[in-house]
């Protein structure tokens, strides 16, 4: 990560209504937070930003709302399978609850929810091949 890239990120943050931005590469992590006044926040519409790739870095955005989200990503390489009953949009999950399975070398590896909450996004489809770290679900961990 060089200065130019950092500047791009700062610009991105300043021109957005996002309060916080996290970069991950390997096990390194960089978080940028924007100073906001209460006033600012009240005039803002809550908005969800999807994680994006920027120069190969995975960038997760987090605002006041998004701080209350957890993501479930693939801990194995393999084929994603829904379980029965399927964990669908809007489903409530408990921490540790099995959400899906990833089939790897004929073995079905179960994937558990990292936190309790409501499924607000499913990023993959049944029988889809997934790589390590691929985003599977977004969970809303706080009640609005």
């Amino acid at each position: 990560m060089n200065l130019d890239e950092l500047e791009q990120l700062v610009a991105l943050l300043q021109n957005s209504n996002v309060r916080e931005l996290t970069l991950k590469q390997g096990d390194k992590r960089l978080t940028l937070r924007r100073e906001t006044s209460r006033n600012d926040l009240q005039t803002e519409e809550p908005e969800m930003l999807h994680p994006v790739e920027l120069n190969g870095f995975q960038v997760d955005f987090a605002d006041e709302q998004a701080e209350a989200q957890a993501v479930v990503s693939a801990p194995y390489v393999g084929v994603f399978h829904h379980i029965r009953p399927m964990t669908g949009m809007g489903a409530s999950v408990a921490a540790g609850q099995i959400m899906c399975a990833i089939q790897s070398m004929d073995i079905l590896n179960e994937v558990a929810a990292p936190a309790a909450g409501t499924v607000v996004d499913i990023h993959v489809q049944d029988n889809q091949p997934v790589e390590y770290g691929q985003l599977l679900y977004t969970i809303q961990t706080k009640e609005d």
């Binding site: 194995y76 390489v77 390590y132």
Partner: protein, 455 residues
């Protein structure tokens, strides 16, 4: 021929394999840890799959994820490269079970050679000279003492399941032997999962010479000449390799080659492999061990034979017959390889990590560079320190040395410490120039000089 190959490795060797696949019109899948997401092999391959976090055990050694990656991408073969899973018999076995061709020897062959004591026995039976040693694992102290009295000191205690220079102890006399035997057993059990040790005569001032072999599935085996690999650092890691070996007569060279072919035939070897020998001052040689995979230094063999080893590996694995007869394999000129590592020679060759801010590679006539680094490449701290291999060829050794000196003068890497200057010191050394190199060359001729300078 295969349609798609998954490369279960990283760095320059992954790039090397992708290039061979491309020339064979085979599609490629690069697997990578999260630390290598933006690496050159990932960018070059037709597809890439992230297989885990940076630590090797979670990614490049993660068999289920790698095999699963091959399956979801529809690859029909896996090239394991060098290191990582390349000599794991159980990985080769798992591949075959899943219908994936493992590009290397079979699991059975690997297992046969993984036990050093039984490997010695096999070699000895096949008429390949071995260092005088105990018949397999030592059962008792008495047996050890009996062997020592017959053979004389100094002796080596070796762990049967050790390798890469690890698990070896030098003993000078009888008291030493008994005391160290116990320690060696305990250590071997902890490090290699087996307390078996054996004894061997200590070959003094040896050179490390290895022979490249290549075998197909139909029992046809040829050798591609030998490599001189005595220039090693204190951790027995090779620094500078060459082909042909120096200070051997034509007769000695052909005896070495023939012995290597006998060795490979004795175990029914398939694909590319290397038989390592110790060569003493008289040119007598002893089987040391077999590497059941491609070697980093395979390039010097390619330069003097004109044979693309990685393509041969792939062809043989695809069930093709070796199209080379021993007679057709000709050796021309002399090749050298310098390994350029990210390491700090002033701090005991500690691996260096960081961002390469600028890289300028050598080029021109007789020069080959195999590398995965680019400007702004971030050297991850998790893996080996090899950044690039500079390989030169010329008519004879003296000319090849001059060409390598020219290359290392041209080569510039900024941002991380490298051993470029250290390699230049080796090339300048009078003993090296004269070919007076034994496995302790670096310690005796280079590092001792440094100590003297700093005194």
């Amino acid at each position: 021929m295969f349609d798609k190959i998954l490369i279960a490795n990283r760095g320059e060797i992954a790039v090397r394999i992708i290039r061979a696949c491309r020339e064979l019109k085979i599609k490629t899948v690069a697997v990578h840890s999260t630390a290598d997401t933006n690496s050159l092999p990932v960018r070059m391959a037709d597809e890439s799959i992230c297989i885990g976090p940076p630590p090797p055990k979670d990614s490049y050694l993660n068999m289920p994820n790698i095999i699963s990656a091959a399956r979801i991408t529809g690859a029909d073969a896996i090239h394991p490269g060098i290191g990582f899973l390349s000599e794991r018999a159980n990985f080769a076995e798992a591949c075959e079970m899943c219908g994936l061709k493992f590009i290397g020897p079979t699991a059975a062959v690997m297992e046969r050679m993984n036990n050093k004591a039984s490997a010695r026995e096999t070699m000895s039976k096949a008429g390949v000279p071995v260092v005088p040693g105990s018949d397999g694992a030592i059962a008792s102290d008495e047996e050890a003492l009996r062997f020592a009295r017959k053979t004389g000191y100094p002796l080596l205690i070796k762990a049967a399941h050790g390798g890469g220079g690890r698990g070896i102890r030098l003993v000078q006399n009888e008291e030493d032997l008994v005391r160290q035997l116990d320690m060696a057993r305990t250590e071997a059990a902890a490090a290699f999962g087996s307390a078996e040790v054996y004894l061997e005569k200590f070959v003094e001032e040896p050179r490390h010479v290895e022979v490249q072999v290549l075998g197909d599935e139909y029992g046809h085996i040829v050798h591609l000449g030998e490599r001189e690999c005595s220039v090693q650092n204190l951790r027995h890691q090779k620094l500078l390799e060459e082909s042909p070996a120096i200070q051997l007569t034509i007769q000695q060279r052909s005896r070495l080659g023939e012995a290597a072919v006998r060795a490979a035939k004795a175990i029914g070897y398939i694909n590319a492999g290397t038989i390592e020998f110790l060569v003493d001052a008289r040119g007598d040689f002893y089987f040391m061990e077999m590497n059941k995979r491609l070697q980093v230094e395979h390039c010097v063999t390619e330069q003097v034979t004109g044979i693309d080893l990685v393509k041969q590996q792939i062809r043989v694995a695809a069930g093709e017959k070796l199209s080379l007869s021993q007679k057709e394999i000709k050796f021309t000129g002399h090749a050298l390889e310098c390994r350029i590592n990210a390491e700090d020679p002033d701090r005991n060759f500690a691996p260096a990590a960081g961002c390469i801010t600028r890289v300028s590679l050598p080029g021109g006539y007789g020069v080959r560079v195999d590398t995965h680094i680019t400007n702004d490449y971030e050297v991850p701290p998790y893996y080996d320190s090899l950044l690039a291999k500079v390989i030169v060829w010329d008519k004879d050794r003296a000319a090849a040395i001059v060409r390598m000196q020219r290359c290392l003068q041209e080569m510039e890497i900024e941002g991380v410490k490298t051993n470029i200057q250290f390699q230049r010191r080796i090339l300048n050394n009078a003993f090296y120039r004269r070919g007076e190199i034994t496995t302790d060359f670096v310690q005796r001729r280079i590092l001792s000089e440094t100590r003297e300078e700093t005194l």
